[in-house]
Point group: C2
Chain length 331, copies 2
DNA sequence: CTGAAAGCGCTTACAG
DNA sequence: CTGAAAGCGCTTACAG
């Protein structure tokens, strides 16, 4: 390992104090009221010696690490992977480094990750919280650590967040289905107290008040079994003519089940999905879905967090999503 | 922000030196030869005050950050997202934190990321290198920073790596196709000097020496256009009866193109893919593919890197992959 | 068995 | 305009 050059080396070489070097190199020249020629010389020698500031030392002194913690349900899920990518890119622009963790929808895992990240002295959090994790979120807030929730939030927790207009977009999407003539709808959601889930359900209910519809809720931890049996009920008992899925994981798993059971979409049954998935491109007919502005969600969350890291104000942002009714055309 | 308790606070409270506290709390009790009762008291007070060691200070002193940098082509690509997830989980077990970056297959971006990460003082790198990035990899090695390449490596660069047996698994997979009676094969790969790409091509060539076959190489940056025209050539001119895709991105994009152009698999044309993708489950017939042991790749890379961080030895690991010929059954 | 002290590489209030 | 000095919170060789 090559010895790194420090402020001291530069100071020694020129014969000034490390203080001056620090002022110049950290761009606080005016604050140190350094002479012009001295400043120039310092800059020149710094370049000459290829000086790289030591973040660690700086962090120790300032108490800021310029690192943020991103915690999502599962980074290997394409939806969250896209968020992670956008958060990384955006935070890099602010000179922030991102560390990522996956909660697997478990409030305990979230709590552990938060503790690890706090020990790592992250300057702030971007979190897509699992069900029943209010306590941990409030704990972060009580420590005075900036936080911005993303994609999900708790109505009764006072925090920054950026989400989409879940209720409205679901209502619009379902209304679109009704406009196509469907009259017997099933809605599959997770059993959850999370606001975005409640909003999507409400949107569905608002849109279907005049037709026959049924709401099914399955448990995240047993979704494999429960999704299968629920779809069987929908097909054989409710005899719905369209299923509305509340999330991207449900959408993909549901489509998979329908495909493997040779249910033809939309002939036998139509579907309405939430969030985009690559798999939609593999159907001959368009998969109608609500497309959330993932990149924008991610970018805004970084901006909100960054602002919060310097000033002390919360910000809540609700973005619009888009209803997609056609297949992406390739080439 | 609540004031954090430091070693000093504990030392002050008991009336011992911070040195003793440090020895006890960092588990170097025997090294400091601390008295039993003193040690016990220190531990007790530490717990009482809810002492959290300051990583930053420790890092500054020891020069170790317990952070590793993972750089892949694109974290939003499911293949790399899975690797990232497994690396995170595994490195967490060693008390390491992972920071992630996406190179977008660009050697320049890789170089930038590496520089940012080095400034952040990562203790080591896990990298899936893009084409023509030997220089940056060698630069890392020349600095004495531990590194383990993953999924890809350069034959002529002396580094640790963990990859799969690309040549053998491709050969076995293609032989399987031949065994099914296919006689006119097309191979689509990226134009690349990366060893794994060359190995996969060689595996294809070795297996097809006795039949008619054609190799097509497309450029990563223009893959959209080139993939489409290549497939057209394969269908209309070569009239192949099966296409072999060399990577997961090519597999998914190729399948998408075939689907959207109503080419029936396997009736009109069969395919052989590399790496698993969720989209395979949306075909009524099984998509034959080579499945790399992603989790194992990731875990081993962390282990190799970790060992390298304490001892000074390289390690090269080649894992076996598996040929999948049946669809995953759901529920 | 225990403690005083130096030092990691910065930043910044303070004194000149 | 410039410098000496303290201090962020640890670790660790050294002296007793």
């Amino acid at each position: 390992m090559v010895k790194k050059v420090s402020l001291k080396d530069i100071a020694l070489k020129i014969g000034v104090s490390t203080a001056l070097v620090s002022y110049v190199l950290s761009g606080n020249e005016e604050k140190g009221r350094v002479g012009k020629e001295t400043a120039e010389k310092i800059r020149q020698v710094a370049k000459e010696l290829n000086y790289q500031p030591n973040h660690i030392a700086k962090s120790l002194k300032t108490g800021k690490t310029n690192t943020i913690g991103l915690i999502v349900a599962d980074i290997s899920n394409p939806f969250f992977a896209s968020i992670a990518r956008a958060v990384e890119d955006e935070s890099g622009k602010y000179g922030l480094t991102t560390i990522i963790g996956s909660s697997d929808e478990s409030p305990e895992k979230l709590k552990n990750l938060v503790e690890v990240f706090i020990k790592r002295q992250v300057d702030g959090f971007i979190i897509s919280p699992p069900d029943h994790s209010e306590e941990t979120i409030e704990y972060i807030i009580s420590l005075g650590i900036p936080i911005c929730l993303i994609d999900r939030h708790f109505d009764h927790v006072k925090s920054s967040y950026v989400v989409t207009d879940n209720k409205e977009s679901m209502q619009k999407a379902v209304s679109h289905l009704l406009g196509m003539g469907y009259k017997n709808l099933a809605f599959i959601a997770y059993n959850s107290t999370l606001q975005h889930m409640k909003d999507r359900e409400q949107g569905f209910l608002d849109a279907t008040s005049e037709i026959y519809s049924q709401v099914y809720k399955i448990n995240f931890s047993k979704q494999h079994d429960e999704l299968a049996s629920t779809i069987e009920v929908i097909l054989n008992e409710q005899k719905a003519d369209a299923i509305v899925f509340a999330t991207n994981t449900l959408s993909v798993a549901g489509l998979k089940y329908l495909t493997q059971h040779k249910v033809k979409i939309p002939q036998d049954l139509n579907v309405m999905c939430f969030d985009f998935s690559e798999v939609y491109d593999f159907f001959y007919h368009p998969i109608i879905h609500v497309k959330q502005p993932i990149e924008q969600l991610a970018k805004e969350s970084v901006t909100i967090l960054f602002n919060q890291m310097k000033e002390e104000h919360l910000q809540q942002l609700v973005l619009n999503s888009e209803l997609i009714t056609k297949t992406r055309v390739m080439v």
